[in-house]
Amino acid sequence: MLNKHVHAIYDDDDKLLSAVKHLRSSGVSIKDVFTPFPVHGLDHALDLKPTRIAIAAFIYGCIGLTTAILMINYIMIVDWPQNIGGKPSFSFMENLPAFVPVIFELTVFFAGHLMVITFYVRSSLWPFKKAENPIPETTDDKFLIQITSFKDQKKLMSIIKQTDYHNIDIIEHQPVVAESNKLVNESSQVSVGFVFHSRKYSNGSSNLRIQFTKGRGSQYAKNTGIRIFRKYWSSSKNSVSSKHPEHEVINKKLENIKSKIVSGKEKFKNGVISFEQLHNYVLDN
């Protein structure tokens, strides 16, 4: 089954905002919107629930306040009361004025830090986290609407085309497998197919790769060295459509690879080469 994503890309925040309103009123369900800066009114246009992080901060502040009071009361009054400067510490209330600065600071400390930690956890931000914006330009000057669930692609396209869009990308996440995409039970069975690398170059093209799968467990992919726009790829024919200016050269290369795949699989079956060596054989020009 193909799992298609549609990315509608805009080059202006006002265009994005009216597009979001238009798409939503046309019944399109928007998965996510990626923007380079906070676009005012976007949360209302998307019907996002208001964030409760400020309430959380208030609760954290109360926790800090309580912690500070309990700590100071224990240290200064309960555990080791001292007579400092003729002001004996026998009761918390009488000594409270001197404790106010630390109580205040700890309240702010707890509220500030725990709120930021909550923000990082809820928005899953941490070091070594991989960025998830589909195209790198969304941190620069592009605004992207991600649509993942739709029934009729043509209808969706016509709705998007009514908006003032900059570009539309259709992303196919499932590997576009060449042959024998059937479930294979024998672990010795090998399937080889074409897939696109998930990362795109800034001009929108991606690397065409070959994916080698053995049984259900081991899998790896190697670049073919061919870099094309996804729109030129025909998954039913496993070739580049004739609209591509260099389709003859690329298809010739692909024919070569496809024949190598067939013979390579034969060789693997006969035990001449191992699964790990298969890619050397297929991509050896």
Binding site: P36, T51, I72, E132
Partner: protein, 463 residues
């Protein structure tokens, strides 16, 4: 266009006909380019000063505090002067990013990133002094509330010095997360533009995988607002508590109730002066004149003028109250400040802090870049003298005339102070080459309302 309206009377905050992409390019340029000769010269000088400071610190720690010019009458001098000076400088950053955010001042967006960086770097310098002055800095953890090894002897929560520990560490860490949270989208922008694999790796690491989802932005804005709300009383509390170090004592000249507001005003005054010094250079070196405009400089000068006048009022109030109190020790402390052996420090302070900012009443002067630069440095010198005057002149002639003495710094005192200046500039110079120095995501939000090209389009429309 309707939602981006701004009154035509307001001067544009972003000039030079910018687009969103142009802002990205301008902010990324200093990071993606290589440093010029001037940067290397200043960096080398700063690094040498820093190393010299480290040498003096090692000498102090290994030999003892006796290497400083302190004596039994003046037990606090340059160390605490430098400490208060650096903490004061560290007040402008959070003031700009927090207080001005609450007041919805859009002009803060061009300068807040660097001001916050300056805050963090100067608070680091400030923190060094109490730790060194402990004499045994490896025991610095004793300031945390943990019982000692023999039983439950705790830190003293009645002591303003302990309040300082909590105030400064809260201030430093909260400012740091405030700064870093604001940096995430800008680091992400650098990450997504990076071509060198190492650069990409580093900026992926520091941007925490920021992707810019609508929900992330919603939380981001709420977090910024609440942090601003928390940081506003925090920034006012920090210098209040620093002033308590003096105000809660019984030393004439220190024991005054005016200290908290007077110190806070002085801190903002010196902090803005330092921001002014740094940004006047930075906008030139990094070609950021379109984002840090003459209007930004003028507004900062107005803040300097107002806080300078508040500080001036505080000086005069102190003198009046000393006379009005009828306490002869108090009266002598102030008479001694102005006419005693340290008269030159007092009048340096008066000239730099009270008189020099008054020039900013003239529009011609406050919009002059050279003049602003000179005044910003003069103010910082004056604010250093203010702390020196408060601390040393109040101590050197105490209740017992037989112990009256003078203080003169040794080369170690001077070396550590210069070392912190070097350290500060090392950090700031490294920052200016590796961090997005303008909060570009925020500036993009005001481009349509305050960009000169968009304002022009609207003006033409009206006519």
């Amino acid at each position: 266009m309707g939602s981006h309206y701004e009154a035509p009377i307001r001067a544009p905050l972003v000039t030079g006909n910018k687009s969103y992409h142009q802002i990205t390019v301008d902010v990324a340029r200093p990071i993606e380019g290589s440093a010029n000769k001037h940067w290397w010269i200043v960096f080398t000088i700063s690094l040498l000063l820093f190393l010299w400071g480290i040498g003096c610190i090692i000498y102090t720690v290994s030999t003892g505090i006796g290497t400083w010019g302190l004596n039994k009458t003046v037990g606090w001098a340059w160390d605490i002067t430098n400490f208060v000076w650096w903490v004061g400088i560290g007040h402008a950053g959070t003031l700009i990013s927090a207080v001005l955010l609450l007041f919805r001042q859009k002009w803060r967006m061009g300068i807040n990133r660097s001001a916050e960086a300056m805050t963090i770097f100067s608070v680091i310098q400030a923190g060094l002094f109490p730790v060194i002055h402990m004499g045994r800095p490896w025991l610095a953890y004793w300031i945390v509330p943990i019982p000692n090894t023999f039983g439950s002897l705790w830190v003293n929560f009645n002591s303003p010095l302990l309040w300082d520990v909590f105030a400064i560490s809260t201030y430093l860490t909260v400012s740091l997360v405030f700064w870093w949270t604001g940096l995430l989208p800008d680091f992400a922008m650098i990450r997504d533009r990076a071509v060198k694999p190492f650069q990409k790796k580093i900026y992926s690491l520091v941007s925490f995988g920021w992707s810019g989802r609508a929900k992330d932005w919603q939380r981001f804005e709420e977090v910024s607002l609440v942090l601003a709300g928390l940081a506003t009383p925090l920034v006012l509390s920090v210098h209040t508590i620093v002033s308590f170090d003096f105000a809660t004592s019984v030393i004439p000249g220190w024991h005054t109730t005016i200290f908290p507001p007077y110190f806070v005003a002085g801190a903002i005054f010196s902090g803005f002066a330092m921001v002014q010094t740094l940004l006047l250079v930075m906008r030139k070196v990094c070609n950021l004149e379109d984002y840090i405009t003459l209007q930004h400089i003028e507004l900062m000068n107005i803040v300097i003028m107002i806080t300078g006048s508040i500080v001036g009022c505080a000086y005069i109030t102190e003198l009046f109250i000393a006379w009005y109190s009828g306490v002869e020790y108090e009266q002598y402390a102030f008479l001694n400040r102005a006419t005693g052996p340290y008269w030159w420090a007092y009048w340096a302070m008066m000239t730099c802090n009270v008189f020099s900012p008054q020039f900013m009443w003239f529009k011609k002067l406050r919009t002059s870049i050279t003049f602003s630069f000179v005044i910003s440095i003069v103010v910082n010198i004056g604010m250093w003298f203010e702390r020196f005057v408060i601390i040393v002149t109040s101590l050197h002639r105490d209740y017992l005339p037989s112990s009256w003495t003078m203080f003169s710094p040794t080369f170690v005192d001077i070396g550590i102070f210069l070392g912190t200046i070097g350290f500060f500039f090392v950090l700031f110079l490294l920052y200016s080459r590796t961090f997005p120095v303008i909060a570009q995501a925020e500036v993009k939000t005001i481009l349509k309302s305050s960009g000169d090209n968009y304002k022009q389009i609207r003006d033409n429309h009206v006519k």
